[in-house]
């Protein structure tokens, strides 16, 4: 998928007709979605019976359960928060959906155009393709690439989509300006930036290209009020464009501003028990 | 068997042309293979010869293998018949094979050469034997013999052009002036031995058989008569031979390869034919260069052609002395600046 113009994406038209809440009500929490088929009609993401335990071989094979029996769905145009105390497995869950952590059991079905991909069992190359066009991930920290300027870091996903470099750079500049990153920093590699500056670069990189499914891990943790407001605005735009967002938002102000519902991660463990 | 006599007593007895028959047969087999695969370096079991490596041991073995009792042998070194190397090799075969020798290109049936091809066009009843120091044209770029053999086998000659590229990059033109690589019969790239590139075109479609012998490296290769020989080049830097601004100072020949001869230590110099036989023939026919001696002072040809062919080496050194042929003493080809390298001395004449 290489759609580059958010406003013109067909998904944005389809979504505005219905309120997210309505669709949410119609989608009951599923136990198991049949392989290769979305249970709720129109869901972007359907997680079912998802379990994961870390085995620490360096500590005599100690077992560290992370998630068990996780099940939920996400629809276009909605922003859903993962809730629960730290250590409940929220970040791990996001990473599993992104394919960064492997899955012991269960399914993570993601709609990719006309296809449905189970992240839990997909071949690595399928995951790469899924990430290239469908799933965006805004991590908590920027993984810095040596020598690459902030502007290029941000523009890169667009360039990967096939947008001409000049246009990609222009759009990256617009976005960094909007996030109040001082222009003198644009040409520098972000390695030496402050936490807040790095996070804004990271957000810009995560949001610049259109990805129908967006995963956000505390995108506003190190931001001041003004920049939090900018991020809220950006998330709202994504929602209007039909993007489904699943995120971890510790900041209550942000969470309440953008999230239609909260999925309590601690529930999953209890259901299994 | 020939017998050289010393004070009337039978002295040393040699097999015809020094080498034993088995060895000559082995060399002839290598030569036949070389002719069958033009430009391909055929390994052969080179023998120790009674002369040091670098003095033409490879050429001498090839000559010994092709020489018959009726052959007339000419030996040149840098184009001259009268340099030490040429005189010694000519003497060697007079002594060991008893063959007739000559300095006249037209009279010779076998010509062994170091670093030149005669100016007089060769005929199909002649064999030209080259002395080769380093037969592998890729050697200076690729030191591994296993690898260069592969490259020949697979016709991977890009590296040869790297050498020419380096020339142009450093000098603005292909500065290789001798041992200039050629492609033989559209297949093998070959080192033509350190002849000036001026002579390269003479190898192409030549009616004479051309044989190359490398004694130290134990390789023989060949260009059969009338074979296509192409000098490597670039489309935008085509192969060109040296051109000389003035004619030969002695015989006024143009379009021939000239040696620079230093006359004194005040910068005096002259350019004369590197091919001494060619130069003398022209002088004998009345051609005069600007520094040619006056007619009266011109020596008669050392001896009538034909008689000359039977001379033995002892006489040759005096009869063929440089001064006797209208050249300044000691100013033979070998005395030209750097002529020993085969090309250095010739660059002065390059425009």
């Amino acid at each position: 998928m290489t759609t580059t113009d958010n406003a013109s994406h067909p998904a944005s038209l389809a979504v505005e007709e219905r309120e997210p809440e309505e669709r949410m009500a119609s989608a009951s929490r599923s136990e198991v979605a049949p392989q290769g088929q979305m249970r709720g009609e129109g869901a972007l993401l359907a997680v079912s019976s998802l379990s994961k335990t870390f085995v620490l071989h360096l500590r005599e094979g100690a077992r560290l359960p992370v998630v068990s029996g996780a099940a939920f769905e996400l629809y276009p145009g909605e922003c859903v928060a993962l809730g629960g105390p730290s250590g409940a497995g929220k970040s791990s869950l996001l990473k599993m959906i992104y394919g960064n952590y492997r899955v012991d059991a269960g399914a993570i079905l993601v709609r990719d155009g006309d296809e449905t991909v189970d992240v839990a069992s997909a071949a690595p190359r399928r995951l790469i393709r899924l990430r290239a066009g469908t799933i965006g991930y805004v991590s908590q920290f920027l993984r810095v690439i040596p020598r690459v300027s902030a502007l290029d870091v941000v523009a890169e996903p667009l360039v990967g989509d096939g947008v001409p470099r000049e246009e990609a750079t222009r759009r990256a500049a617009d976005l960094l300006a909007r996030l109040n990153l001082p222009e003198r920093l644009w040409g520098l590699p972000p390695a030496t930036f402050s936490g807040g500056e790095q996070q804004r670069v990271n957000i810009a990189r995560g949001l610049i290209a259109f990805r129908p499914l967006l995963l956000m891990d505390e995108p506003t943790a190190s931001l001041d009020a003004a920049n939090r407001a900018v991020v809220i605005g950006l998330i709202e735009e994504k929602k209007r464009a039909g993007v489904g967002i699943l995120g971890i938002f510790h900041d209550a102000e942000v969470r309440e501003a953008v999230c239609g519902r909260v999925i309590d991660v601690t529930e999953f463990g209890r259901q299994m028990a | 068997m020939t017998t050289a006599t010393l004070g009337g007593m039978p002295a040393i007895t040699y097999n015809f042309a020094y080498l034993d028959e088995q060895t000559k047969r082995m060399i002839r087999r290598a030569i036949l293979k070389a002719i069958a695969v033009p430009g391909y370096q055929v390994p052969f079991a080179a023998r120790e010869m009674p002369m040091p490596y670098g003095w033409g041991t490879g050429g001498v073995q090839v000559t010994a293998a092709v020489l018959g009792p009726d052959d007339v042998l000419k030996v040149i070194d840098q184009g001259a018949d009268d340099t030490t190397n040429a005189v010694a090799i000519r003497g060697f075969f007079e002594k060991t094979a008893g063959v007739a020798t000559t300095t006249a290109t037209t009279e010779a049936t076998v010509i062994q050469t170091r670093h030149r091809i005669p100016e007089t066009p060769l005929r199909d009843d002649q064999i030209l034997v080259y002395q080769v120091p380093i037969p592998e044209p890729l050697r200076f770029l690729e030191p591994r013999e296993t690898e260069t053999r592969q490259m020949h086998a697979l016709e991977e000659y890009g590296l040869m052009h790297v050498k020419l590229y380096e020339d142009i990059a450093r000098h603005g033109h292909i500065a290789t002036t001798y041992a200039y690589p050629v492609e033989v019969a559209g297949r093998y790239v070959m080192d033509p031995s350190p002849i000036p590139k001026f002579d390269n075109p003479k190898m192409d479609d030549c009616p004479a058989l051309q044989l190359f012998g490398a004694g130290r490296e134990k390789r023989i290769y060949a260009i059969p008569p009338h074979t296509r020989v192409r000098s490597l080049d670039f489309e935008d830097h085509p192969f060109e031979v040296q051109r000389f601004a003035q004619p030969c100072a002695l015989c006024a020949a143009r379009g021939v390869y000239l040696d620079e001869v230093i006359l004194d230590d005040r910068g005096g110099r002259m350019f004369v034919c590197s091919d001494t036989d060619y130069c003398e023939s022209r002088q004998a026919a009345g051609h005069r260069g600007e520094m040619a001696p006056p007619d009266a002072a011109l020596p008669q040809p050392v001896s009538p052609r034909g008689e000359d062919a039977t001379r033995v080496s002892d006489d040759a050194s005096s009869d063929l002395s440089a001064s006797a042929r209208g050249r300044p003493a000691g100013a033979g080809a070998g005395a030209g600046t750097g002529a020993g390298t085969g090309a250095g001395g010739t660059e002065a004449g390059h425009d």
Binding site: H57, G99, N100, P124, R125, I128 | Q150, A153, L159, V162
Partner: protein
């Protein structure tokens, strides 16, 4: 994105007498994909690279490669001429020691131009123009074109080696510890360069490295080797962030955080 693999290794093994170089390796590399082979010294990763690039002859198994005409060929059935042509046109090999991959006595321009001349290019001006373009792409100043690599720094030599390999626009490049022995800052520059060239040219790369940071930065997928076997494979970030095998966990936990 093409879904047909460019290179396929099946049950690939190499014994050095009784010692096992590598055993039972199966992997696929797709066009435009960077595959990292990681492991400690002696894990068999260099042997594997040798086998994949046909520099070593396998004791077992085979390597197949999709030629430009689309046909998949067992590399063992290619003649020497075909294989060597492949190696200097469709493949590249960037070696750890630039002296092994460059002609140290030949100018930078000649080093880059060699492959062009090897495929029959005979126009000096064109060859030089292309060499200059490539020197620029690997950030070597144009006025160094006639200098030989002996006068270059380690990083420059390595960049020159890359240019020399990429000038024929290969589809697959083998890299053996390309940043080994370089200063950290020089490494970063080289990695950045490789990264951008790989994505611009859509190169497939098989890179052997013991440096997990290099693997993370450059590769899409990763193969972890130990004692001659592949013990873990997956997406690079998956293997590094959620390693499964005890050995991989040890490897990942042994990296010093900067």
């Amino acid at each position: 994105m093409t879904e047909q693999p460019l290179l396929i290794a099946e049950t690939l093994g190499k014994n050095y007498g009784a010692r096992i170089g590598c055993r039972d390796v199966a992997l696929e590399v797709y066009p435009g994909e960077v595959l990292a082979v990681v492991g400690e010294s002696g894990s068999g990763k260099s042997t594997l690279l040798g086998l994949l690039s046909t520099e070593l002859e396998p004791s077992a198994g085979r390597v197949s490669y999709r030629l430009r005409d689309g046909s998949l060929r067992d590399l063992a059935t290619l003649g020497a001429a075909e294989r060597r042509l492949l190696m200097r046109t469709d493949w590249g090999f960037v070696r750890q020691n630039p002296a092994d991959g460059l002609r140290m006595a030949v100018s930078a321009g000649g080093n880059v131009g060699e492959r062009l001349m090897a495929v029959g290019r005979r126009h000096y001006g064109d060859i030089r123009t292309e060499a200059l373009d490539w020197l620029g792409r690997v950030e070597i100043a144009a006025d160094r074109i006639d200098d030989d690599p002996r006068s270059f720094s380690g990083g420059m030599r390595q960049r020159l080696q890359i240019a020399r390999n990429l000038v024929t626009r290969p589809r697959l490049v083998f890299m053996d510890e390309p940043t080994g022995g370089l200063d950290v800052s020089v490494q970063a520059r080289l990695l950045d360069l490789v990264r951008s060239l790989v994505s611009e040219m859509g190169l497939a790369v098989i890179i052997v490295t013991h440096d997990l940071a290099v693997a993370r930065l450059l590769s899409h997928r990763m193969v972890v080797m130990r004692q001659g076997r592949v013990i873990e494979t997956g997406l690079t970030d998956q293997v590094l962030d959620d390693p499964r095998e005890p050995y991989t966990q040890l490897l990942v936990s042994s990296v010093l955080a900067a």
